[in-house]
Amino acid sequence: MATLNKQAQKKIWAFLALGTFVGLLLLPLFLSLPAGASGGAPAPAASTAPPTAQPADAKPVEKSRDIWYKTEGPVVGAPAPKTVDGPKDYPRYNFESRVLLWVANQQHLYYGSFVLAVPIFCMVIEYMGIITKDKALARKYDQLAYDFIKISLTAYSLTAILGGILVFTYLTLYPTFFGYLASIFRPVMHTYALLFVAESGTLYIYYYGWDRMREGFLKWVHVSMSVVLNVIGTVLMMLANSWIAFMQSPAGVDDQGRYLGNIWHVIHTTLWNPINVHRLIGNMAFGGGVVAAYAAYRFLTAKTDEERAHYDWMGYVAMFIGVCFLIPLPFAGYWLMREVYAYRQQMGITLMGGLLAWLFIIQAVMIGSLFLTTNYYLWQGLERMRGAERYQKYIKYMVFVLITCFIVWLTPHTMVMTPGELKAMGGQQHPVLGNYGVMSAKNGAINTIITTTVLSFIMYQRGNKVPTVKWASKGNAFLFGLFTVAYINIIGLAIYGYYIPANVRVGLSVPQVATTLSCLFIGVLLNSIMLKGAKELGPTVWGQISVRSQYALIMLATAFTWMMGLMGYIRSSVRLFWHVNEIMRDNSPWAFTHTIGFAANMISFNVLFFWITILFVFWLGSLGIKKAPAAAPVGQKVPVPAGSH
């Protein structure tokens, strides 16, 4: 009876705790609603009141037109300041202020992305642990989720510290600009701060309550807390995105930059949602990469086979999640770019066909290397399975296809040349290689790379298994037909593109992408169904994998980090000499676009700095380990993500 009472008490406390979190989550929204509509200033009631109600000397409320929404609204803010180069608007050290801000921004973003992504993994894995009927598997999932959140906890403190550094950097080096931004986003910034408090509280209780809320109903409450945590995290990200989206495609202000009282217009600019989607997916891929690198680090430093087995499995799961989000990432990027073109065509041209176009070539190299590394890791993973040797002979052909496509993918359209070189080559385009520098070839190349990666994954799924379903022959024949015709279709469309005008050719990318996605969804789904109840040729021996595979995971994470830095720089520098595009001009001495070499060095510095500090975080995490992780004994079956073998 006493136990029952204790349990009932626990339930009540759990409900109260959850209710508090939900309340904290909703509180800022309630607070922001009345203030938000007017930007914190008294509502301009005079505009609706009859003229007779006004004092004789009262000024009429000035109205102006929204620069983007084209709606009329009362002017409640000051015009965007016209800055001048000097200590008032741009106080500085004897150093380029923009570079300092760049580092502070990028580091905060890296850590912010990481701590946003990892709790999402935690939520999914902990939930999988709850619904799994096998107790041993459930414990392993639970341990994995706990490992994930433990890493993000230290990173969370660092994110907050870096956020503080970022705000101080803005305040001390760009006070006028930051003041203008804060005057518009005041309610959003307060909401952000309150949500941050709510997130911190939820995260700490989620982490420290793990053991106490391990069983039964309390476990459900615990996993519900992770949902609350992730909702807060995602809203935080979206609010922060509204600031950068406003800087790039302002709305809610008139052509002088005066705030018109509608906070939703200021938040919901035309690029806000594409940035939200792109960042969320990108963060997930990045988070997967960093956790995979952590697992690789722990694998490489492991002392026992049990530890190696656990961290091998952890690395695989993290890599799997990362790649799942890597595949849709280019499509989200495509949407963002399309919206940029729709907003300002010139901005799109500056990005992809002008000043910043060469950075996209570097991006292509990074994307290619990400896929190459993913394939390499999957091939190395075949070593874990007995019976997978039968697939080794196909790898060399896949390497050939991937490398060929990679070379086409990174071929530039034009080169920067001296007049002599230009004359020797007979023009800006090389007579042979120039043919591979066009989008027709590149679309074919990248889709072939992704389709081959899907094929590698299907091969990996089958590693040690032979399908035993009655329709296995038909299924295999269908998979063969699907991939063969898909390759022909992708390459055929790429060649077809050379013979038709540009306005028709541009549409071919859509069926090419659809072909790749067909292989991904139909191929992987069909293969997974075929492998249900399949005959195993041997066990999957976790931990029995080459050291090279772990370096591949580290490479994957580093490439994600570098690409994130690069794309962030591209998106930010496309504003050119504007703080807020076409509203507030950047009159500092640094309102120019850096050379590619300088930008690349800065990105590399940021990547290096992040990895050194995150290694410190990993090391701190390892100090807290008192016992060995839930062992995945060598040779024993360990849970893998749905769809895997």
Binding site: T468, V469, A472, S473, F478, G507
Partner: protein
Amino acid sequence: MADQESQVSTGTKVAFTIGSLILATIYFTALDYALMNMQGLDFFYLFRK
């Protein structure tokens, strides 16, 4: 049951493969046509001009 695939004759396998190739060709051609049409573009542009 252990190895269903080995019990199927080579002739049947070839027939399945040819059938799959035809099926996949129809699927991808229809996909190409439909997606180009959706964008207001003519997939068979080259052959009509």
